[in-house]
Subunit: 241 residues, 2 copies
DNA sequence: GTAGCCTCTTACACTTTCTCACAATCGGTT
DNA sequence: AACCGATTGTGAGAAAGTGTAAGAGGCTAC
């Protein structure tokens, strides 16, 4: 899960916070179980599950990316999370899914039946704790996003979003200043509670201000990490409230 | 936890969703354990714990109300939850608290050491499941609030907030059309991601429109539940997006 | 290669919410 | 009863973000 936290170090100082993605590569009991799951390939735009579906499985993304969102009858949409390879999906669900999960491109997931997981947890208390911790990280990330969407300006939200992806790259051993965006502007807008136009304008503004480069719309290069960081944290020019 | 969900029935159709308050009166293993906890009285404005404090205990509110929030260095605040009697606080914390908990008035809580809870959960898998479910409900409520704050207009947010409190009353066997607000306008504003002025104006607007009555600022009487409901759901006059 | 489609960008008028300033009200105290 | 501080309510102007619409860029299929 993407954490739009304004403190850079939260990922490392608090290993439990999980940082960018809530339960990435869990080298533990949970990971072991999931590795034994059945692989399933989704085409682009295909749904892994929808709101109201029975929550039968827990999934781990192997390849590709998945967008988790929720809709209002009138079409308003809230993206809750972007799941990257290694991320686990479907943990919080009790009975029915409260949101939908859609592949953003051709994506491979590995699924484990909830019933199996439950049985295993009954005897393996270590696994139970891992599940609990994974859920805690999701809760923290959800509240972080709430904070971002509720209290930050458009520029701050986009900056926080990019910083989250940058930190994610860093943790993964990838270049922290080159960010590939697997999601559309619409996905970003619905994640940050903005319109697609505002997201686009904000990207442009960051580019003209020399904070980022944007050769293609899916590739962001961070030119001035300090400025981006400051903006994400609620920098000098941000409104005081 | 307060759920600002737009579907009224979510409370009852999905018992796991928890509805208004995430883990109210858990008549189960968790409740039993918490009943054995040590009572502690907080004065108005006193903090139960602060961001960064070691998460030593899990608490249940017995009397009074507690506001759970998070601050940004520049003073921006996000209220994450209002805890009512019966609600459990401090569940998601791993190591350190990520938010602060402040009594809104003289409040009595009952605390149980996390270490004790962990020991108990090791042998009582039923308790472990209850903890997991309680956390799931918190996650659902957090995402619900995210949705509300991110996608709804000021009027819709206030309406959703009042509807959540109304449903909460109903579940408790109290009058669903008479709502006592234990929190200040500032708390509501920081919960809904609005300014105090906008909250105030919106209340006034609802009053002049005949949707609610507002003799004192802490007592809301719902005059037209249908209209309030429609507004909370994103009624006819809401923007289509 | 180019026609067609989809996403992204940009511009401008408009709406909502915020900011700032001040008045009114409430609750507790002297 | 009058005072006081804190909270709440109201109004006018400012700012941020939105909605509409038009144009640019990129990908796919033919």
């Amino acid at each position: 899960m993407l954490t739009t936290a304004f403190t850079v170090d939260s990922d490392h100082d608090h290993p439990m916070t999980g940082g960018g993605l809530a339960h990435r590569e869990p080298q533990d009991a949970l990971a072991e179980r999931l590795a034994a799951g059945v692989a399933h390939t989704l085409e682009a735009r295909e749904h892994l599950f929808c709101e109201g579906d029975q929550a039968t499985h827990v999934y781990r993304v192997e390849v590709g990316h998945i967008c988790i969102y929720r809709m209002m009858p009138d079409g308003r949409r809230q993206v809750v999370d972007f799941a990257y390879p290694g991320d686990v999906i479907g943990l919080g669900a009790l009975g029915e899914h409260a949101d939908s999960a859609q592949a953003m491109e051709r994506t491979v997931v590995r699924g484990l039946p909830v019933a199996t997981l439950k049985d295993l947890a009954r005897f393996d208390s270590q696994l139970g704790i891992k599940l609990y911790e994974a859920l805690s990280r999701e809760l923290l990330a959800a509240r972080e996003l709430l904070f971002t969407v509720s209290q930050r300006t458009a520029a701050e939200r986009v900056a926080a979003f990019l910083m989250a992806l940058s930190r994610r790259n860093e943790r993964r051993g990838e270049k922290p200043d080159e960010i590939v965006l697997p999601m559309t502007r619409m996905d970003i807008a619905d994640f940050l509670g903005l319109t697609i136009e505002t997201v686009s304008r904000t990207f442009t503004r960051l580019r003209t201000d020399g904070v980022i480069d944007l050769e293609q719309c899916i590739l962001v290069t961070i030119r001035n990490p300090g400025a981006l960081q400051a903006l994400a944290e609620g920098g000098p020019e941000s409104r005081a409230r």
